[in-house]
Symmetry: C2
Subunit: 232 residues, 2 copies
């Protein structure tokens, strides 16, 4: 292996930030203010700095580009290193997946012309294309999120600190694109030890019988798993 052939690449991080807004799955995008792909929507992200851990770079870039901070859940997704994925040269990007509750509107940072939440189905239905290979990255992140809802209690990170069972169900319905039976869902969630814990308080924000409020339980893995089967 000749030393002069060894690659020194520019390292970037990109973020798939998912949330549930108005019952629909949404992701965070920034409109590029500089070339390449100027004016196109892209995932938030940017270059890793010298001496900076990858995860720290992801957190920093999110704040810089959108004014939001992650808090809830941030995990590494995958690394994208196709030699031609960036027209500027060899840029290898480590993608991170963040799942967050319904946050305020983002504020575009210096390199961005705009930043906002996009309803995922609407964005794709309109035929929009993200910059670089970000459509692929977004798809991979979405698939990771969908499958993690099955066997972990991660759905709770989409909710606020206190939430009703119905709100939690709407998370599953939005992420999986299915309709679940509210009664069976309620029993399943409340019977799984450690999934959610009652706070003792109630809310009537939905107009019917007041619902109990819950918070995240201690467990991370669900036994048995939630099933992605569609209901009525």
């Amino acid at each position: 292996m000749a030393e002069d052939l060894v690659l020194t690449a520019t390292l970037a991080v990109d973020l798939i930030v998912l949330t549930v807004r108005n019952g629909a799955l949404a992701f965070l995008a920034v409109k590029r203010g500089v070339p390449p792909f100027r004016g196109r929507w892209a995932l938030p992200g940017g270059f890793v700095l010298d001496g900076e851990p990858l995860r720290a770079a992801a957190e920093r870039e999110l704040v810089e580009e959108t004014g939001l901070s992650v808090g809830a859940h941030l995990e590494q997704l995958a690394t994208y290193g196709d030699p031609r994925r960036d027209p500027r040269g060899r840029v290898v990007s480590v993608a991170y997946l963040a799942l967050v509750p319904d946050l305020p509107a983002p504020v575009a940072g210096t390199d961005a012309a705009d930043a906002r939440w996009h309803d995922l189905d609407a964005f794709r239905g309109a035929g929009h294309r993200l910059a670089f290979d970000h459509d692929q990255i977004l798809s991979d992140g979405l698939e990771r999120a969908r499958s993690k809802l099955e066997y972990t209690s991660l759905a709770t990170v989409f909710c606020g600190d206190e939430f009703t069972i119905a709100e939690l169900r709407q998370v599953y319905e939005a992420v999986w694109g299915v309709t679940l039976d509210p009664r069976n869902f309620h029993r399943k969630v409340t019977n799984t030890d450690g999934f959610v814990e009652p706070t003792g308080r109630t809310t009537a924000r939905d107009g019917g019988r007041p619902a109990q409020l819950f918070r995240r339980g201690a467990i991370e893995l669900l036994h048995p798993a939630m099933l992605r089967t569609a209901g009525a």
Copy 2:
């Protein structure tokens, strides 16, 4: 973001190559022939070349260092980018996980003093430590393999082209470190459409009643999943 602070890192790939030998889970290691960590066991891997896709680098390094080629299954695992993970400087490593059938002994390449299969439990039981952060990478790969056996048909890639149900069961037992009921396992596997397909041939290599031989089926995802619960 000042341009002079942007990181240009050296990119590497490392491989966790797992197989089942003599009923035990084993991984492939090379003894380092050059500093740093000279003389220590490490995962096979090396630097990505200019213009080379990451996955191609993983395949190339495996052949160069051990004479083995992957064939069966190779997937990206995670990327390790701690600024101090390599004493030579900032080296970011993309780890790949390979699952292979029982292959011949590896042959050490030019940079390696030795290359061989290590029984995983014996290696750890003896208190050996891999170079760099490779213990962590190995653990992560192992955990990925363990969980993927649950919900995919990947266990079959540990077997040869034709295998008996008992051989497939031994894969699960070795990877999960449990004992499974042969009768229930047999029924479960053969009743899951597309998991394995009968070849019509039999073998008597284990001294009892001849067993039917099967090959991999078409499906990739198992419904319902295999459960990691220990049997008698």
